[in-house]
């Protein structure tokens, strides 16, 4: 990847992470851990991969995004705000009763959100439906969805996976945010979904394993996905839950807990330092 682009993406990803902390701190609730693990992927999707336009959010030919792991909405909101769908400051209203930013994404309330999600396992089916819709109408738009690695315990994910390959939906990419932590512990401790890649291979998908924080690998994976014909692509992205905030990294407890004032200050200081280094 071009170094300039990489730096821009890293800067934007850092800003997305600041939005995650800002939003969950002000809301006094929410899911920072999984939002931080998926921030790089969200940034790449909205700043490189997807054809979307904040000035025309309902363009029928736009690419679609479905956040199947809907609880990591703060990362989506950060990316949408940076893309201009709404002012970045709106993130401070996250989860408040007069906010357009719901705890989980709502397509009826937030510009740029293509599908309401939150109940795990359901988003991928709607993404599959959108990809089928594009094929049905002979349109070129592509559909992207991001799943949690714990989420794929939901049987519906595999119903959708079977359907997508049976219908040869090569305009669909599902990213699994493999941060290895779910609410009750590691994947292995709870009810292991490993091997994730082999499962998607068995369901007829084109499967690519990457480091979900490495923009070179992220770029290569999405390019390969575009080249693959006749099959949907699953990108299994190895990530760190809480990425970018030292005390949250790989700590299960930061799945669904907001930082307090002290923790907020530390997190913002760390992210600000990262941003300064990137912008230097």
């Amino acid at each position: 990847m071009d170094n300039q682009l990489k730096k821009e993406l890293q800067i934007n990803a850092c800003k997305v992470r600041m939005g995650v902390i800002e939003g969950t701190f002000n809301a006094k609730s929410g899911h920072p851990g999984g939002s931080l693990s998926v921030s790089d992927i969200m940034t790449y999707l909205y700043f490189v991969e997807m054809n979307v336009d904040a000035k025309n959010p309902q363009n029928p030919d736009r690419d679609r995004f479905v956040l199947s792991k809907g609880h990591t909405a703060p990362a989506l909101y950060g990316a949408l705000a940076l893309k201009g769908f709404f002012p970045f400051d709106e993130i401070k209203t996250l989860r408040k009763s007069d906010s357009m930013l719901q705890g989980h994404p709502s397509m009826k309330m937030t510009p740029g959100v293509d599908m309401s999600t939150g109940s795990l396992g359901q988003g991928i089916s709607t993404a599959v439906g959108m990809a089928l819709g594009a094929k049905h109408d002979k349109k070129d738009f592509r559909v992207y969805t991001v799943l949690g690695d714990g989420e794929i315990g939901e049987g519906q994910v595999w119903e959708a996976a079977m359907f997508a390959s049976a219908k040869k939906l090569d305009n669909l990419v599902a990213v699994v945010d493999n941060n290895n932590l779910q609410i009750d512990g590691t994947l292995e401790e709870v009810n292991s979904s490993y091997p994730i890649d082999e499962k998607f291979v068995a369901f007829g998908w084109n499967v690519i394993n990457i480091d979900g924080h490495n923009f070179d690998e992220i770029e290569a994976a999405f390019k390969k996905a575009r080249e693959c014909k006749g099959k949907p692509t699953a990108i299994i992205a190895k990530t760190v839950k809480g990425k970018g905030v030292s005390y949250m990294e790989n700590v299960c407890g930061w799945h669904g807990k907001a930082p307090n004032e002290e923790e907020y200050k530390v997190a913002m200081e760390e992210l600000n330092n990262q941003l300064k280094d990137l912008e230097a």
Partner: protein
């Protein structure tokens, strides 16, 4: 009775889909491996390019239907009522109801009249489940003509809907001149002593009950309530005022269905007794459909008995 024309409401569903297939560009029909039974199969045979089979995966069926609707399609998604409203309830709630998408759920084989397949397939809870989803329209037609017209009306109306059809062939009540409107009840018989508000295959039983009651000197009105949500409050209030007692009749659990919906309106407007005929909070069982309907009290005889009890309450 040899000249009574009988058709299942699911046949009306299939016919309407055929008609829509010829004139709607953005129509898509989906099924979950029950196309022959739900009658989407007749559509599939004529319009294979507008039909997708989800296989035995109702949760995904509803999600894919939601995604298709979000990309500008009018989607009819079919399965048996048990699996469409029961198994996939949360998918219907969260990925069709909450985003208010244009998906029409064509649920066949509702109620006890499924017959021999027994309790696991006899869904008497679907109306109750669907009623609790904000914005969901519920239509339970009385015969194949009404079913066909309801499907055509549904296709022309934006938003999520639950269309409830039966497996059993039932007597035809309406003719082609019948005009169906979503949300409008229609009075089939005038009466002064009691109003029977019925839905689905119980409408014909209500008509027979009204005849019998007439012979016994009781003047019973009959209202066909095809649309259960949004319910026609005006028609219910008028009936409550006029006859002072109401009997409801439905092939559904008496909890949460038409009877509940009518009682909710009545108790807040014109409080009068509402007696409910329906499945009395029990599971079904195997047997020939018509036999089962009698066994579970879903017949004219039980409506007559209940109507008499209702009239007695006025004294």
């Amino acid at each position: 009775m040899a000249d009574v024309i009988k058709h299942a409401t699911r046949d009306g569903y299939g016919e309407a889909l055929l008609e829509l297939g010829a004139k709607m560009d953005n129509l898509i029909v989906m099924d979950a491996d029950l196309a022959a039974a739900t009658k989407t199969g007749v559509f599939k045979a004529k319009f294979p390019e507008k039909f997708y089979n989800a296989g035995i995966a109702e949760a995904n069926l509803m999600g894919v239907a939601g995604g298709l609707a979000a990309t500008g399609h009018v989607v009819f998604a079919s399965s048996f009522a048990m699996f469409a409203a029961g198994r996939a309830f949360e998918q219907v709630r969260n990925t069709i109801g909450y985003p208010h998408l244009n998906v029409k759920i064509g649920a066949t084989h509702a109620g006890i009249s499924v017959g021999e397949d027994g309790a696991s397939h006899q869904c008497c809870e679907d109306i109750a489940l669907m009623r609790t989803i904000p914005g969901m329209v519920i239509i339970n037609p009385a015969d194949d003509i009404e079913a066909k017209k309801a499907v055509l009306a549904a296709a022309a109306t934006e938003g999520p809907m639950y269309l409830r059809f039966g497996r059993l062939a039932v007597p035809r009540i309406f003719d082609d001149n019948y005009s169906f409107e979503i949300g409008k009840a229609n009075k089939l018989v005038e009466g002064n002593d009691v109003t029977i508000i019925a839905t689905g295959l119980m409408v014909n039983e209500a008509l027979m009950a009204a005849e019998q009651l007439k012979n016994e000197g009781i003047s019973a009105a009959v209202i066909n309530m095809a649309t259960i949500k949004p319910i026609d409050e005006e028609a219910i209030i008028e009936a409550a005022k006029k006859t002072g007692v109401i009997v409801t009749a439905e092939e559904h659990n008496i909890i949460g269905g038409l009877g509940s919906a009518v009682a909710e309106v009545v108790c807040q407007t014109v409080p009068v007794p509402v007696l409910r005929v329906g499945v009395e909070d029990t599971f079904g069982r195997s047997g020939p459909a018509v036999e089962l309907l009698h066994l579970f009290g879903l017949d004219a005889k039980h409506i007559v008995e209940t109507a008499k009890k209702a009239v007695a309450l006025k004294k």
